[in-house]
């Protein structure tokens, strides 16, 4: 074919792919905008800075967890144990601080994250070295870690009362109007996003999820990468735990109960393919924000509390169905183009 034609086709291809890669995030942003607009139309106070601030606040911890989950899902694995890991780290942080009010906070964070990472390492080793399917492993550790949390707390609870204000303020204060919690989430999001996008290790996670055997033939050190993904996911769950304590002050053995499905839901709504290879942490974070916003707006709209869960489920289904249809259309388009090229 002639050069200009090719160039044109190239351009089209570029536009198409750009679209494919961005559309999910766009989709959610639009959905969010609509949701907020509608809610605001009925209840203007919903878009007062104070309330928007709260939306971001509520979403930030879930966003952090969703980012971690994305790392794992992208490699064709899954981590069901996030909720339990979060609980462990949350209680650790609370326990340390109520034991010793003036423990330097960085230390607390470090320890909380370390504990999470350790749990992630445990999961990761079982998956890579033990060759046990991630679903089985993390379903098991979901129970084990939770049980350990119960054993450890043994009915005790950490109260805001016993925690240093400096720490609790992390959960409520803002810097230049942006809640500190949200800043945490943003930093995590951007760092991870960059890592996935601009570093070999990150790209290889996608390769592994996209074609495991191919990754092996291409000399990608799959096991090591998958292990990394699990450790990072664990560490982020740990961070989430510490922040959970900072925000809610009260922690007992039931903290983060049932989070796993919500977090996966957030990632999936955000366009992370459950079978790996595609999806971005930004999408996942937006997904978390969208789910949080729905809950809040349904409350504000005085919708019976009972509808909330149903709405979230429906949204999730719409999201994946939408993904699927877009995916099919794009595949068809790409195939037709390459066929033209061949013929």
């Amino acid at each position: 074919m002639s050069a200009p034609a090719a160039a044109a086709e190239g351009a089209r291809a570029r536009r198409l792919t750009e679209w494919v890669y961005r559309v999910r995030e766009l989709g959610i942003v639009v959905a969010l905008a609509v949701l907020i607009a509608v809610t605001a139309a009925i209840e203007p106070r919903f878009i007062e800075t104070d309330s928007l601030r709260n939306l971001a606040l509520n979403a930030s911890i879930f966003a952090i967890l969703a980012v971690g989950q994305t790392l794992v899902i992208v490699t064709r694995n899954v981590d069901l144990s996030v909720g339990s890991v979060l609980c462990l780290s949350a209680y650790l942080a609370g326990d340390l601080l109520s034991g010793n009010q003036d423990l330097p906070l960085p230390v607390v964070f470090a320890l909380g994250i370390a504990l999470g990472a350790a749990c992630g390492l445990f999961n990761g080793l079982l998956v890579t070295w033990g060759q046990v399917p991630a679903l089985v492993v993390t379903l098991g550790t979901l129970y084990m870690f939770r049980g350990l949390a119960f054993l450890w707390t043994d009915g005790r609870q950490v109260n805001a009362e016993t925690l240093p204000d400096a720490f609790l303020n992390l959960g409520s204060d803002s810097i230049l109007g942006v809640p500190i919690l949200v800043l945490f989430a943003l930093v995590v999001l951007l760092v991870t996003g960059q890592w996935l996008r601009d570093y070999r290790a990150g790209r290889e996670l996608y390769a592994i999820g996209s074609n495991p055997e191919g990754a092996r033939l291409a000399g990608v050190r799959s096991e090591r990468r998958v292990l990394t993904a699990f450790v990072l996911a664990g560490a982020l769950a740990g961070l989430g735990g510490v922040l959970f304590t900072a925000r809610f002050g009260t922690v007992d053995a039931t903290a983060g109960f049932g989070y796993e499905l919500t977090v996966i839901a957030a990632a999936v709504v955000g366009g992370v393919a459950i079978f790996g290879g595609t999806g971005s942490v930004y999408g996942a974070a937006l997904g978390a924000l969208l789910l949080g916003t729905i809950t809040s707006s349904l409350i504000v709209l005085r919708v019976e509390a009972f509808w909330q869960q149903a709405a979230i489920g429906a949204l999730l289904l719409v999201a994946i169905a939408f993904d699927r249809l877009v995916g099919l259309r794009v595949d068809a388009a790409l195939r037709r183009r390459s066929a033209r090229r061949a013929g």
Binding site: G130, V132, M144, F150, D154, I264, A311, L316
Partner: protein, 354 residues
């Protein structure tokens, strides 16, 4: 290699003699996994009776099995779904929806005899909905059923809200709670037994069941062999819905309470039972017998820990989780070790280790 040499020259017709065949079939029926489970059960029974003299009693069996009856029912259908290499996380939510429907219709004054069929139909519809999204839209069942997990539970609340209906006629609630004709075997377990047999026959002895294995082991090959892959999967999800709805009826009668919040977290317990029963999460492998044994094991462990004055009930979760992981990890490691030995002995392919 051995395979080749073993039959070199011998005409295949003469290969396996009928008696040996029977033996092998028996061995197949009680495969390594089932043996493992039986071993674990034995250990649990011993440990349990050491922990409490109350453990090895008809009572323990009655109450212990009652506690698990709904999970057990759902595990049966779930086994088929997972053998077909799919998954259904929405079972507990369908159970709740069925219970909620039951409550609502009862409040509207319908007779139970009419309500129950309606609940089953509702369950079938929910299951079919899952199946539709998976087979027609080609969505991954994991994602779909996470969605319907929330959707169905939500609908349950929409139907009955915060109410809980507790005034079902004693004749029915007794059926739910009572034992079978003066034995120490709860009615719910009799129901389970009947279904278990039915499911076992379907899965292990019918073309349908055979198709499920083929699909689970290699969907493409199954399709190339002319099997109706999509339709079969649709049926499986529908079945899962019906059984979940049945479990919803059972739990409502057994607890003489119907509400939207029943059975939270049952889905994970049921999946645990299925996987512990030796069903491969990747499909194509596993038996109903294994799942039944796994359920028994879980029940026994739970009972033992509850009855012991010394061990706190937190341990139930820890032990369950450890078992789940260990049951898959153990064989893997064993295989790895033996392979390493073989390779060192007479140079075997690295590849198969992975």
């Amino acid at each position: 290699m051995q395979a080749e040499t073993a039959t070199q020259g011998t005409p295949p017709a003469a290969a396996p003699a009928p008696p040996r065949e029977g033996a092998t079939r028996l061995r197949a029926a009680l495969g390594r996994w089932e043996a493992l489970l039986i071993g674990l059960i034995a250990i649990t029974l011993i440990a349990g009776s050491a922990l409490s003299e109350e453990f090895l009693t008809a009572d323990s069996f009655t109450t212990g099995s009652l506690d698990l009856s709904e999970v057990a029912l759902m595990a049966l259908a779930l086994t088929l779904v997972i053998v077909a290499a799919e998954i259904d996380l929405s079972v507990a939510s369908m159970l709740a929806l069925s219970s909620a429907l039951m409550a609502d219709l009862w409040n509207r004054g319908l007779p139970l005899e009419l309500i129950m069929p309606i609940c089953l139909v509702a369950g079938a519809l929910c299951g079919a909905f899952n199946g539709f999204l998976v087979t027609r839209l080609g969505l991954p069942s994991l994602a779909v059923t996470i969605g319907t997990f929330a959707l169905f539970r939500g609908l349950a609340y929409v139907v009955i809200g915060d109410e809980s209906v507790t005034d079902f006629p004693a004749t029915w609630t007794d059926r739910g709670f009572g034992n079978f004709a003066g034995t120490f075997i709860p009615n719910t377990i009799v129901l389970f037994a009947i279904l278990a047999v039915a499911f076992a026959v379907v899965l292990h002895a019918t073309p349908f069941g055979r198709s499920i294995y083929a699909i689970g082991a290699n969907q493409e090959a199954a399709y190339f062999a002319g099997l109706r892959v999509k339709r079969i999967k649709l049926i499986l999800f529908t079945l899962s819905g019906i059984v979940a709805a049945l479990a919803g009826i059972v739990i409502s009668l057994r607890n003489s309470t119907a509400a939207a919040n029943v059975g939270q977290g049952f889905e994970l317990t049921a999946i645990t039972a299925v996987l512990l029963g030796g069903v491969s999460i990747f499909g194509g492998r596993g038996t109903i017998l294994g799942v039944i044994l796994a359920l028994f094991l879980l029940g026994a462990i739970q009972k033992a820990i509850l009855l012991s004055e010394s061990i706190s009930s937190y341990w139930i979760q820890i032990v369950t989780g450890a078992l789940l992981v260990g049951s898959v990890l153990g064989p893997n490691l064993a295989r790895r070790v033996s392979e390493m030995r073989r390779r060192h002995a007479h140079q075997h392919p690295l590849e198969e280790g992975q």
